[in-house]
């Protein structure tokens, strides 16, 4: 109980801000079209949850993001390890990574819409393609940087090529894969929401942009709160998974709020 109280207290500025927001809006200092009171937004949010729209569309966005991420990881992790271990794979993939990594994948939204329509498929493939590069690059760097002495130790103890891959290279690369996922996760949400805002086809992004078009400001804010919540929960879950899986790692236990693009 005391612990919960202390955590809440440490977030005092957030509550303070919400309170000021409520006061300013209630007093009519800003037009409700621009800044409705927090209470109105929460009420609207509750109504949208009750009639199911917010839940359904959040679900759509989340599924698209996660399936896309899963695809990217399924392709990107083997590709990154392959690039680090096999010269031919490196030769073939490296130019594409060099070109593709710095390109803002968000600019490909129109092409994906053109090719795959405006439904699940185009969004999922966009997320998969967009998050592929940070995962490949992080995995590649991890697998490249595996300590020579670890590999040597394993060899000296009798490990063969396959054992080195499964028992040394992959575990040693795991922290880097997590770093890649930490970048890819917010990126997946950005791509999903933007794609939904541009193309429609349901999802939270569509709710946001649609509400904006019809000037339903409380809905815009309520959806934004939902987006914030999803982003926050995703991030925490990933950190939690990292802490559990990478308990052995020097830095895994200290939570860093850092992202690389």
């Amino acid at each position: 109980m005391v612990r919960v109280g202390r955590v809440l207290l440490s977030y005092y500025s957030a509550f303070l801000l919400l309170l000021v927001w409520e006061g300013v809006a209630q007093a009519g200092l800003v037009r409700a079209l621009f800044l409705p009171p927090v209470s109105t937004i929460l009420a609207q949010g509750a109504a949208l949850v009750a009639d199911g729209t917010l839940v359904t569309d959040s679900g759509i966005s989340i599924v698209r993001a996660l399936v896309g991420l899963g695809l990217a990881a399924a392709v990107g992790i083997p590709a990154g390890i392959g690039m680090a271990r096999l010269r031919a794979v490196h030769w073939f993939c490296d130019p594409f990574v060099t070109i593709g990594f710095p390109t803002p994948k968000i600019s490909l939204i129109p092409i994906f819409i053109l090719w795959f329509g405006i439904g699940h498929l185009s969004t999922i493939l966009l997320v998969g393609f967009g998050t592929l590069f940070p995962i490949v690059v992080a995995t590649y760097h991890g697998a490249r940087g595996v300590e020579r002495l670890w590999v040597w130790s394993a060899r000296a103890m009798g490990a063969g090529e396959r054992d080195v891959l499964w028992k040394v290279v992959i575990p040693a690369t795991l922290p880097f894969i997590f770093t890649g996922m930490r970048v890819a996760l917010p990126l997946s949400l950005i791509l999903v929401f933007t794609s939904e805002m541009v193309a429609g086809g349901g999802g939270l992004g569509f709710i946001l942009i649609n509400a904006q078009r019809y000037f339903e400001t409380p809905t815009v804010y309520a959806a934004l709160y939902a987006v914030l919540l999803i982003g926050f929960v995703f991030d925490r879950l990933l950190l939690l998974a990292r802490e559990r899986i990478l308990g052995w790692h020097e830095e895994a236990t200290k939570a860093v709020t850092e992202a690389e693009v």
Binding site: S13, P95, L114, V220, L224
Partner: protein, 219 residues
């Protein structure tokens, strides 16, 4: 030079396959135009000068937002590192809002400021500020205490310590924050432009020919 040449071989292979697929109409060329057609369309756009004003607008929005974010973010980051109360106030706000995909604010800024420059610059500013603040804060907080103590021992005041010890110590972190923010700025500005221009499918088709390459050249 030799490496660039060697590196271009796989790209040429894939481009060749693409060209072939499209030429042989294995996939409807309407959907997958041949590489040569894309390159021609792209060259036309560049030489006709149609793309330049758009490019300029994008650059202006991204860089204006980024610059604001750097100025504000560095100041706030250093202030947080030097003052506990400021840290206690700002830190939870950043922790809570950092995981928010910033593009989601676009509808809001459109609501406030319409679809002009301001709405986009504001989103870029908000999005870019986060990494700058966080990196500056960690860099400034990580400044070696022995250095600060020796500076104090030699009679340096708070201003001198800031300028001569903390800022130089934080600089590498600040730069890596800016590097991340730079990448953010283009993602956000392109997202904002896509959303705010309400690109229809017709526009998207020409867009597919243009957005492919020039963006990547910029970042």
């Amino acid at each position: 030079m030799a490496r660039t040449l060697q590196g271009s071989v796989p790209v040429l292979i894939v481009a060749g396959l693409w060209e072939l697929t499209s030429r042989l109409a294995l996939i409807d060329p309407e959907h997958l135009p041949p590489v040569s057609a894309i390159l021609r369309a792209w060259a036309d756009l560049v030489f006709s000068g149609h793309i330049l004003p758009h490019l300029a607008a994008t650059l202006y929005r991204a860089l204006a937002g980024l610059l604001l974010a750097i100025v504000f973010g560095v100041a706030l980051g250093v202030w947080m590192a030097r003052s506990r109360p400021v840290e206690r106030f700002v830190d939870p706000l950043i922790t809570l809002t950092y995981p928010l995909p910033k593009v989601a604010i676009i509808p809001l800024t459109m609501l406030w400021f319409g679809i002009g420059h301001l709405a986009k610059i504001l989103v870029v500013f908000i999005g870019c500020m986060m990494p700058v603040i966080i990196h500056t804060f960690h860099g400034a907080r990580g400044a070696d205490h022995l250095l600060i103590w020796s500076a104090q021992a030699m009679g340096a005041g708070e201003r001198a310590i800031l300028r001569k010890v903390i800022l130089p110590a934080a600089l590498p972190a600040v730069l890596s924050g800016i590097r991340i923010a730079l990448a953010f700025s283009f993602v956000i500005v392109i997202g904002a432009e896509l959303v705010a221009s309400r690109a229809g499918l017709g526009e998207a088709k020409t867009g597919s020919m243009t957005t492919c390459s020039p963006r990547s050249w910029l970042s």
